[in-house]
Symmetry: C2
Subunit: 437 residues, 2 copies
């Protein structure tokens, strides 16, 4: 009889409870798969008194996460408390330093301290697994870390936040405003009371920074991510996108360029026919462009108790089986500093929506300013207020929609500044980057 892998769980929310249940209900299969039983021996959570729908019989209650991490009876600490700092950080560090393995779903912590923790894991021989931190049950970490071990990666991008995708889906389907859809998302539990972490793109940025490290063999660098959220997106942008053969998604994109690595999170126009454009509601998806091979896309639930627990327990099973993989695919001392590509040198197509004064020559002025910056226009559509000739010229601003061919970001902003100085438009131009598949 092989000795069981003894697990301690810190955090008994939805995910923690589901992990307990899964280990219990799937125990026989897990043992068969790992060659070793998995047993939860100790747990801890903020309140011991709280009513929980899980059976803690025969499981020790640790005073706090630190005590759980230091419990000599625990082989593997499962951290499900969240938060980029303590108590999660200290507990994980203590566990790793004593040679224990750690499984976590804590993206914030990995984005901030992942490299340091990976180093501790390598030094002391424990595993440090975090499949659930990005895309929950979607096996994206394993795919980048092991499945594509041999293949150079050019780009990895995806829909990494279900809240944003839900809001954009509703806005597109029903023509509603961002504010209305956000309110609905909050009512349905898809968005937090303070939604800024999700809708401003920070959640996506943390996940993207982790994926970029796995894809490119660089140190996680969340601060090098350019972040824009979705609150500025208007229903008319989604309508225009549809007319032009695109859909708007909040993407996290990490891409190798001649100027370094771009990491960026922003609303993005993607071709309607792309795999990523089909991903609706709270579903997540990641596309990987490997050198010389067609793209691989993984689609699935990016959140939820059962989906997250599925990934956590798979990570535990790997540890029980004795698998040790470098947390970021290669040894920490082989991870390069990320060389950040400057965002103003970003190259790509752009969608631009301007509110133009409905005067003769406006389109010509705009086209000239773009031409001065050597920007080629793929299409320009000027929508007259009443659909025909400018009847009451100049009275009501009309939308002008532009799609550019690939150009530089700074050229776009210089051209738009010039257009603003020309006083042919009102308000702020809307600019959305286009990502080709």
């Amino acid at each position: 009889m092989v000795a069981p892998l003894k697990v301690g769980i810190a955090g008994l929310g939805t995910v923690g409870a589901e992990v307990l249940r899964l280990i219990e209900s799937r125990g026989r299969v897990l043992t068969a798969r790992s060659g070793r039983p998995v047993r939860v021996v100790a747990v801890t959570a903020r309140s011991k008194a709280k009513k929980r729908d899980v059976d803690l019989d025969g499981i020790a209650w640790a005073r706090d996460p630190q005590a759980l991490a230091e419990n000599p009876d625990v082989d593997c600490l499962v951290e499900l408390m969240g938060g980029a700092g303590d108590p999660a950080l200290s507990a994980i560090e203590a566990a790793l330093k004593s040679g224990k393995s750690v499984v976590t779903a804590n993206k914030a912590l990995i984005a901030k301290h992942g490299v340091r923790l990976a180093q501790a894991a390598e030094k002391h021989g424990g595993a440090f697994n975090y499949e659930a931190a990005v895309g929950a049950a979607i096996p994206i970490v394993k795919t980048l870390r092991e499945g594509l071990a041999a293949t150079g990666i050019d780009r990895v991008y995806g829909i990494l936040n279900g809240t944003c995708n839900y809001i954009l889906t509703r806005m597109e389907r029903e023509g509603l405003s961002f504010a209305e859809c956000l309110k609905d998302a909050q009512r349905l539990g898809y968005a937090e009371a303070d939604p800024s972490f999700d809708v401003d793109g920070h959640d996506t940025a943390q996940k993207l920074a982790i994926l970029a490290s796995l894809a490119f063999g660089t140190k996680v660098a969340q601060s090098a991510v350019h972040v824009e959220g979705i609150s500025s997106i208007a229903p008319e942008d989604l309508r225009a996108a549809a007319d032009l053969g695109y859909r708007v998604k909040l993407l996290g994109v990490a891409v190798k360029t001649a100027k370094g690595i771009e990491q960026r999170v922003h609303p993005t126009m993607v071709p309607k026919s792309s795999s990523i454009a089909q991903v609706m509601d709270v579903t997540n998806a990641v596309t990987i462009d490997g050198e010389g091979i067609p793209p691989i896309t993984l689609v699935g639930p990016g959140a939820g108790g059962a989906a997250t627990a599925s990934a956590v327990v798979a990570d535990i099973a790997d540890i029980a089986r004795g698998v040790r993989v470098h947390p970021f695919g290669r040894p920490v001392d082989r991870l390069a500093q990320i060389e950040k590509a400057p965002m103003e040198r970003h190259e790509g197509g752009y969608y631009i929506r301007l509110m133009a004064r409905d005067l003769p020559g406006t389109a010509a002025t705009i086209a000239t300013r773009l031409a001065e910056q050597k920007i080629s226009i793929e299409s320009i559509v000027q929508r007259h207020a009443n659909g025909g000739e400018p009847a009451r010229a100049g009275k009501t601003p009309v939308p002008v929609l532009l799609i550019t061919y690939a150009t530089h970001e700074d050229a776009v902003y210089r051209a738009l500044q010039a257009v603003q100085r020309d006083k042919v438009i009102t308000g702020r131009p809307q600019v959305i980057r286009i990502e080709k598949n």
Copy 2:
């Protein structure tokens, strides 16, 4: 300095050559990832004299696959010759019995002898990896074997043959016949001179049998797969599907039912909004329904030298890292015999296209025969020859399109036999199963 993993490659076609190149060009990264260099020490192929675009300097040439497998200098045999029998089978068996590890892309061999080979691997301590055998670079084997280790699987289904998907895509887009598209596919190298292995569904069946084993913990049972190909599909079926909100794909479906496990390969109507329906041309995709979690879909290249080599070298990297996973996820003695669900008890919706004599009462007769078998009709569309009232009644048969609610397969066939006896239709009814997502 850690001793390198010494690899012997049998078969130097497109994939073999690409594997050689990848190990050479990605050597440093592979070493960093695996903690151990990977070195190709010996190769063999049918003809030594053949001109190849690879550098074989310093690599030994083995007399034949058997000699390569028995070469004491080889730690890991990479079999890329194909074929369900010898020389691949004997060589792999010899390698495993001497404790070596084996990597193969040979689906036919695994579908036929996989369990026996897995047993040899388990007994002698080697790894037996075959990620490339299903879906090439799509990490579907790893996902089922490791990524979803903790999660019970209810159903796994997918587009596993690029040739069929290419033909169906062209037929749908261009309204062409099966024969025309097949000819084009052959011209473009997407289909073999003898296309029957692909278009009759046997290639899909082999891959499906492997996936079913991984998903359900059962022994691979290719002979238990119900197989139908795509040659009977007509452009009018694809048009009707589109009108009704579906698309036709050749799916391999493995699903747990109350009556056992269904494994079936057949043209299938899938809702146009499903992830799988978006997969066009030669691209492959697999969807996994895990217990209690939303579906996970993996999309990517299912064939091609570079994509296949990517998976082969990732398998080698796992072996270099010392990873040993049961080839089918659990020990062979824990794999159950598959309990085959009888196809006539298959339950689902059906699309039925009949060529009906254009006489009053035909639709009523058909509806009555279905009602006798307790089949509920979701929609019935009778297309009159000239779009209006039956002008020259009975002269020209007109298509009747039916969509049924979930029913049993034998009920459908009993009803259609009755309709044929009633002589209200001409020719053979077309029947396509519907798969809901």
